[in-house]
């Protein structure tokens, strides 16, 4: 890890489990990562890989029970977010850590105007009165590119199109100038041309406001275009972590390699046949005792069924959790 850049968020050994009638489900297992100031960290994984649960755990958004954060530390500005009391957490959530969800229709309240929903965090966290909040709300809508912003404050969410609704969500998340923005599949429900607009907007806002962003997605294309660093998750674990170019050019984990080969391209070479990752994603259950990818892994060896590999450093800021990644190289970089 290069010195100098300071960490805004430092997550260590996060473990989240769900209590169900058929036993415990270990959804997040020993996940550790950090986020530097102004950085965009992409988190890639398939459904059930634990990417959303990890991020929800960070700011304790999961209902408990059934969810239970069993171990871990989430350091933010000297505070452990998992330990502080609810009041303190509420001052941070929505103010210093913003959240954008996948589906803007279900995360906006249909019975309140957009203006009301934008004013809410401003009045709660910034202590503005209604008039000031209204002014700021209009500025925010304008910033995210909604035409006739001040007139549209009186509109309800259903009066906006999908792309515009996602812009409103972004405006709400950015209302209090957060240091960290967590975006959970923010463009998945949108069409490609609208997705391109939103990605462009995020790039612009990053330059202007300089917040650090965690961007969760299953779309490798989006990641390639927007992320500085990427974390790949599989079966509730981080399997690989690297700067974006490094990950796409020099993937180390067999899952990352296979994933990159299985997606077709719009430009460049067209393969006659798609490469396939055989089998199904793992069904999560008790604490993992083996590599979650072993059953689908083309290069699995005996030890993979006995031992869950830890993350090995394989290069500058590059780590992969695989028994076949030579740990000998570790010394050279640490």
């Amino acid at each position: 890890m290069p010195d100098g850049a300071s960490k805004v968020l430092d997550v260590q050994n996060l473990n989240t489990i769900f209590q169900t009638r058929s036993g415990e489900i270990h959804a997040v297992n020993n996940v550790s990562f950090d986020l530097e100031e102004g950085e965009l960290l992409g988190v890639v994984g398939e459904s059930g890989s634990g990417k959303s649960v990890t991020m929800m755990s960070l700011i304790r958004l999961l209902p408990s029970p059934p969810a239970e954060i069993r171990a871990g530390k989430v350091m933010f500005d000297g505070l452990d977010l998992l330990k502080i009391d609810d009041d303190k957490l509420r001052d941070i959530r929505g103010a210093r850590i913003g959240f954008i969800f996948q589906d803007p229709m279900t995360s906006l309240n249909p019975v309140f105007t957009v203006g009301f929903q934008l004013r809410e965090p401003l009045m709660r966290h910034m202590g503005l009165n209604k008039k000031q909040a209204n002014k700021r709300a209009a500025e925010l809508l304008e910033m995210v590119g909604i035409p006739a912003a001040s007139a549209r404050l009186k509109d309800y969410p259903h009066q906006f199109s999908g792309g515009m609704r996602q812009r409103v969500m972004i405006a709400i998340a950015l209302a209090c100038d957060p240091e960290v923005l967590i975006a959970d599949e923010p463009t998945t429900a949108l069409d490609v041309t609208i997705q391109a607009q939103i990605l462009e907007l995020i790039k612009e806002l990053r330059q202007k406001l300089g917040m650090a962003i965690i961007w969760i997605t299953h779309d490798l294309g989006v990641i390639a275009g927007i992320a500085d660093r990427v974390m790949v998750m599989y079966g509730g674990q981080v399997v690989e972590e690297a700067p974006v170019r490094e990950l796409f050019k020099n993937p180390q984990h067999p899952y990352t390699k296979a994933l990159l080969k299985t997606v077709p391209h719009v430009r460049g070479e067209r393969a006659e046949r798609l490469e396939v990752i055989e089998g199904q994603p793992p069904i999560l259950g008790g604490a993992p005792t083996a590599c979650p990818f072993r059953e689908r892994c083309p290069v699995a060896i005996d030890i993979c069924a006995r031992e869950n590999p830890a993350l090995h450093v394989t290069g500058p800021r590059h780590a992969a959790a695989c028994h076949l990644v030579a740990p000998a190289r570790e010394e050279a970089h640490v």
């Binding site: 607009q197 299953h218 990641i223 170019r245 391209h265 046949r273 396939v276």
Partner: protein, 343 residues
Amino acid sequence: MFDVSQGAKTLIEVRGLKMYFPIYAGVFRRHVGDVKAVDDVSFDIYEGETLGLVGESGCGKSTCGRAILRLYDITAGSITINGREIGKESQAGLRKLRPTMQMVFQDPQASLNPRMTLEGIIGEPLLEHTDMDRTQRRARVHELMDAVGLNRRFSNRYPHEFSGGQRQRIGIARALALNPKFIVCDEPIAALDVSIQAQVVNLLEDLQKQFGLTYLFISHDLSMVRHIADRVAVMYLGKVVELSARESLYNEPLHPYTKALLSAVPEPDPDLEAAERVILQGDVPSPANPPAGCNFCTRCPAVMEICHREDPAFREVLPGRFVACHHYNDMNVSNETADETGS
């Protein structure tokens, strides 16, 4: 792979297809307008090919696929399948034709009856359309399960016991049961994880080779369509704006909308990502109230004055390349196919 230039036989011929959904309003529920979901669409599908139909949500691509199978009573136009006109056929008459044309749906969860076993689901078309007895049906179900890569032992299980990818295989097996010639695949991989999508697409390709199927592959995933389709049609607001062979469409798109659409697809390669990108402004207009002139004139980066007045015709401007855009008004292919297949 399939080659269009070899004078392939036309299996499906769609001419001037319109599918309007009426809007009623007021106390007397008067007919005040129409949602023009599919508005004057014409194209051919050749035997053995895969025609990709792409577009954004709400452009009418699914409605178009369903209308071709006559799951709706169409507003206007003609649909010919294997030389037989079905545009005006009654639903009772269509029943006899159903075995040749089948559909694979987007959501494998919603399109499988949760109370039926796998054997019941895959065997239902056989029960309905053939006079096979129970043993014969079971044998055929097992054959189909083998073909789509499902273990025969699972034939007494229920849909909820399967994963998304496996459920989609069940849907495909059901569509194959009656040896169809033509299958409409409506976003068959949209609900699946990335690593499962490739499995299902490869299966569809294998089955096409094995049984000589013709597909209409509806999808919003442009990279997957590039992989599976031989020719591609692009829809925008109820109209097909461009139709070409796959390589020419992706390498050298003609219509400004196709250009913008392709450039908006994020490429999983950080170096390619830096490439110039056309970003369309605004949203798609409502199909109940499309703009005057060309449907794309409100967002087109290359809009001209004529575009606001006149709706461009869908014409063959280069051999095998159809486009509806005023920019290509002076280009023409002076052979018979242009008159035959243009709308």
